[in-house]
Structure formats: structure tokens, C-alpha cells
């Protein structure tokens, strides 16, 4: 009757409502509502149901999840899995019969290969709501980072090519600290440099209606629309 001391099984006839945590592994054959965060491996069986965010080291999903699935090592969504929520881990495998509705991201970040920034219909996943509300709405040219909360400190030196900053921003939604407004859009604000630029970048939305003129050097900062 004694299973391994560090594997927890939530049996098929069991419902847990609340928070499940621990430095152990967990197997869910029943139902969990709430939050699951374990340091070991996590298995959601084919009949398992989770209305919860799931977090583990290696997470295998065979059942149904309404919640985010996050792993420190890898996530495997097997055939029959159904996930409504985000899926994030350094490595993710999704079988052909697994169904997902949400944001899927492998790695700590996926670098846009080649560094070209694109107009994404949605912002990168792990957003602090306050930050994204304060940022400029995603304009194609501006490529403003999704998390400009600490923008003030670096808005002034718009010099660093927007491309690399935006690339860094896009690549690690969590750690983005800077917003770089491409030079051509801050042209009007530049004289005011450090003092007004922070205000501009955090409180104002789009910069003043200036026809974005491509200045030399800003070419790389913009996504060119292709024919």
C-alpha cells in the first residue's frame, strides 16, 4: 500500500480544490481545480481534468486542462490531450492528436531568426497587464516592447538600434526592461531628451502624428512591408 514516498497520486475518484505544491512528483487521474506547482514531474492522465495552472519540471499531459501549462524542463502533450491555456517550457512536444488553444512558446525565448522584427497580432505571452496597458499600442514601425514599465530610464538614448532592443524585448517577455522608440519617431521629442521622453514613452500612446520618415540608420528598425 505504500507507494514511493515522493509520488503523489490523485486518484480517479478524487477532486482536489485548492493549491497543490511540493518538491515531489504528481500524477493526476482525477480532477484538480486551483493551482498545481510541483518541483517534480507532473502527469495528467487521460481521464484527468485540471481547471488549474500546472507547473512542474517535466510535465506530461494526456487529459484536459483549462489553465496554463508551464515546465522548467519539458512539456509533452500527448495524443488526446486538450489544453486551453498557454504552454511554455524550454522544450515542448505536441503530438498530432493533441489540441491546444493558447500561446505556445519553447525555450526561454524564441529568437526571431535573423533578428527581423515582425508585426505580431498579439503581444508576447507573459505580460504584466499594467505594463502592456501603458505601452504604445503595437504599431508596425514602432515595435515597442510589450513591457515598457521601466522604460523611462532608456527612452532617451533611442540611439541603440530599435531592432536589437526590440529583438531582445520580443525574445524575453519576462525580462524586457527597455523600450526603444525608433529615432524617427522621437525626432520631435528628442530635444527634451531625458526628462520628457520618459513621460512620453510611458504615458503617451503613439507619438505625435508624424509621418514616419525613414532616417538613415533607422531602416533596420522598421519592418518593411513587402510587396
Amino acid at each position: 500500500m505504500n507507494g514511493q514516498a515522493d509520488v503523489t497520486t490523485i486518484g480517479r475518484g478524487t477532486v482536489v480544490r485548492g493549491r497543490v505544491t511540493g518538491a515531489a512528483s504528481l500524477e493526476i487521474l482525477g480532477r484538480v481545480e486551483g493551482e498545481v506547482e510541483v518541483q517534480g514531474d507532473l502527469l495528467l492522465d487521460a481521464q484527468g481534468l485540471a481547471a488549474a495552472n500546472l507547473s512542474g519540471r517535466r510535465v506530461t499531459i494526456r487529459g484536459a486542462v483549462r489553465g496554463d501549462v508551464v515546465a522548467s524542463e519539458a512539456i509533452v502533450l500527448e495524443d488526446g490531450a486538450r489544453v486551453v491555456g498557454d504552454v511554455r517550457a524550454p522544450r515542448i512536444a505536441i503530438a498530432a492528436g493533441a489540441l491546444v488553444r493558447g500561446y505556445v512558446q519553447t525555450g526561454d525565448a524564441v529568437q526571431p531568426a535573423g533578428g527581423r522584427t515582425r508585426a505580431q497580432p498579439v503581444a508576447t505571452p507573459v505580460q504584466r497587464p499594467a505594463a502592456s496597458a501603458a505601452s504604445a499600442p503595437p504599431r508596425a514601425p514602432a515595435r515597442t516592447a510589450p513591457a515598457p514599465a521601466s522604460a523611462p530610464s532608456v527612452a532617451a538614448p533611442a540611439r541603440p538600434p530599435a531592432q536589437s532592443a526590440a529583438q531582445a524585448a520580443q525574445s524575453s517577455a519576462q525580462t524586457t526592461e527597455r523600450i526603444t522608440v525608433p529615432r524617427h519617431l522621437t525626432a520631435s521629442a528628442q530635444p527634451a531628451a531625458t526628462t520628457s521622453a520618459p513621460a512620453a514613452s510611458t504615458t503617451k500612446g503613439p507619438p505625435p502624428p508624424v509621418v514616419p520618415v525613414l532616417k538613415k540608420g533607422a531602416k533596420g528598425a522598421m519592418t518593411k512591408k513587402r510587396g
Binding site: 500500500m1 505504500n2 507507494g3 514511493q4 514516498a5 515522493d6 509520488v7 503523489t8 497520486t9 490523485i10 486518484g11 480517479r12 475518484g13 478524487t14 477532486v15 482536489v16 480544490r17 485548492g18 493549491r19 497543490v20 505544491t21 511540493g22 518538491a23 515531489a24 512528483s25 504528481l26 487521474l29 482525477g30 486551483g34 510541483v38 517534480g40
Partner: protein, 104 residues
């Protein structure tokens, strides 16, 4: 034999409801309800009201226990709470503080 085992490294803050039996080796805070037996093993910590069938306790329970069957406190058990059961045994070495109601 047990279908639900809450292992030693796991803490559940909330409600556990099962129509099978439950073995607790870790920590449960909140409420624990099982249709079948409940075993609280040595080292387990339950801070919750426990409802179930036959209960075997070798760990710690702080909360009221309601059983449709018998409750057995093993040596090393530590129970603080009222117990309602059809039968109860308290082994030598078990600690218990609370009322016992065997009037089912």
C-alpha cells in the same frame, strides 16, 4: 490498494474529496472527505476536518474527525479535535485531545 496517495513531499491547501480511499503522507490543510478509508501515515500533517470511512491515524490531525466506521489512533498519532465514529481505539503512545462521540 489506495487510489489516492498524497505523498510526503506534497502539500495541498484546499479540499480533497474522494469516492475512494485516501492515504496521506504529506500535508493537507483545509478539508478531507473520502467515501472509503482514510489513512494518515506517520509524518503526515492534516490540518483539516476529516470525513470518511474507517480511519487509521499514525500522523497528526488537527480538526474534527467524522467516520462512518471506526477510528484507530496508532502509536505516534497526534489528534486534536472531536471524533465521531462507531468505534475508536487509541493505542498506547497515541496523543489525543478532544471529545469522542460514538452515538451514531
Amino acid at each position: 490498494m489506495a487510489s489516492t496517495v498524497i505523498g510526503a513531499g506534497i502539500t495541498i491547501d484546499g479540499e480533497v474529496t474522494s469516492d475512494e480511499d485516501v492515504v496521506v503522507q504529506g500535508t493537507v490543510r483545509g478539508k478531507l472527505t473520502a467515501r472509503d478509508g482514510v489513512t494518515v501515515e506517520h509524518g503526515a500533517v492534516v490540518e483539516a476536518d476529516v470525513n470518511g470511512g474507517p480511519l487509521s491515524v499514525a500522523g497528526s490531525i488537527t480538526g474534527n474527525i467524522t467516520s462512518t466506521d471506526r477510528v484507530d489512533l496508532q502509536p505516534g498519532a497526534r489528534v486534536i479535535g472531536n471524533v465521531k465514529a462507531t468505534r475508536i481505539t487509541i493505542a498506547d503512545g497515541a496523543q489525543f485531545k478532544g471529545n469522542v462521540d460514538m452515538d451514531v
